[in-house]
Symmetry: C2
Subunit: 281 residues, 2 copies
């Protein structure tokens, strides 16, 4: 039974997980492993009950949730094996999965591991923005290295909690996740960054003749590089491939600006955008 | 004195202009030239007082506002010259300016012309969505073919009304407008259409692992082709050039996914996106 949860990295995602568990009726312990300043804020908002070091927290935890940046998750995985209870489940919130799952397979032998990626976020970061409703209705990807990884008692109980906090578990292979997310998240990010950087360099005066469309198109460009460095480094191959397909589509539109082929592209695009909105609600 | 306004094309922009004039204290006549169904709706929402044919409306109008699609504006300009009062001002709301201004220069000799482009819009189209506040705080580009075109009494009075309805007049050359807007509107549209079309074709399952970022990135992809056909046809050269620069930037990002050059691009992009938001408020 999950009665002791350790959250490593109590930021927006880690903190929201703590708040969401409480709101869903979880009555066990929630321990935070984070920097001193973060711990103070996390205690203040009620996302955790207490703070420990990683070795202390890991020794006691039934569920260890790694909600750090990707690079830090991989570091933690490399040190975690001697520290854990053999019945514990280690899971994570990293937004690329192949590198993390591979690291876990090589480093974690004494306990269960299940890769995860909650597709939830906010423009604000940090535990101050944590929200018990953050995962409500949102996909939470799980990437078991084999189907049995979902069938252990502890994994089944974790998935029960995901349902209780309102998330929609989606089962994918780690590489499949990384390929799908390169199209749905990584290319959109680079498309927005490239657009804003291109206008900033070549036509900054365009800002005076802009409307709400450019504001939407540059929202992702506000994202800080420090979040993206690890994502780009751990999913380069899939991103290169998806970005090449995107560039190819832009070239095709450029060659066909005055032809009726554009109409078909607009229709395909509008249909997908419409379905995406139905899917999101 | 402007006491008789004719609006040709009483859709979202034309209808909002009528409502905005009334809300700003305009007491003269507002005549609509549109299809029968549109006229009924425009009368119902109070955007116009009455409807006439183009020849009837043009004969009486001090200000003729062409708020039709770009191709229709150019058609109207080609027929308007024999119909207008010599003291009248013809202006328009077309979202590309060089083709329209050139058409007006060739076709309109008996009255004044001043090209215009209000940077305002909504997801909904049609006079039913018309809004007296639509232009509030938004740029309204004017593209005089020479500086004197702004100094006639009728142009000065028109610009006064733009201020009174809350718009911010911005003076640009027609080709300069088209170049700036290719970056701020046309490339963002094609970037969004290309993204949605590319995912729809190559990775539609990515919809299950998408978040609010993809929703923002595909909002423009909902735009209908019939609005864009004329825009793309009348600004192809500028769009091709801007799109080539955008593709070049995406290729640069792809080649540098794992280098620190990406950090500089993210920073440039975030700075521009931040300034854009300050500018928009």
């Amino acid at each position: 039974l999950i009665e002791n949860v350790a959250i490593a990295g109590v930021g927006l995602i880690g903190g929201s997980f703590g708040l969401a568990l409480r709101a869903a009726g979880y009555r066990g312990t929630i321990t935070g492993v984070s920097s001193e300043a973060t711990i103070r804020s996390a205690l203040a908002v009620g996302a955790i009950d207490s703070a420990l070091t990683l070795p202390q927290a890991a020794a006691e935890a039934d569920l260890i949730f790694l909600a750090q940046p990707i690079g830090r998750i991989m570091d933690t995985l490399r040190h975690l094996d001697p520290l854990v209870d053999p019945d514990a489940l280690v899971t994570d919130a990293g937004s690329t999965k192949h590198a993390i799952v591979t690291t876990a397979q090589n480093a974690l032998h004494r306990c269960h591991f299940l890769g995860g990626h909650p597709l939830a976020g906010k423009e604000k970061r940090g535990v101050e923005a944590a929200d018990a409703q953050l995962f409500q209705g949102r996909p939470w990807v799980l990437t078991p290295s084999n189907p049995d990884a979902l069938k252990t008692d502890i994994a089944a109980e974790f998935i029960d909690w995901l349902h209780k906090i309102g998330a929609r578990p989606v089962i994918l292979g780690a590489e499949e996740h990384d390929r799908l997310i390169s199209f749905s998240s990584h290319v959109p990010q680079l498309a927005s960054t490239a657009l804003a950087a291109c206008i900033a360099e070549l036509s900054p005066e365009s800002a005076q003749v802009s409307g709400p469309g450019l504001v939407d198109s540059t929202r992702l460009a506000l994202s800080p590089y420090d979040v993206w460095r690890d994502i780009l480094a751990t999913n380069s191959a899939a991103i290169e491939e998806a970005l090449t397909a995107y560039i190819g589509k832009l070239e095709y539109l450029r060659e066909n600006l005055r032809t009726r082929d554009l109409q078909r592209e607009f229709e395909t695009a509008a249909q997908f955008a419409t379905r995406l909105r139905e899917f999101s609600h």
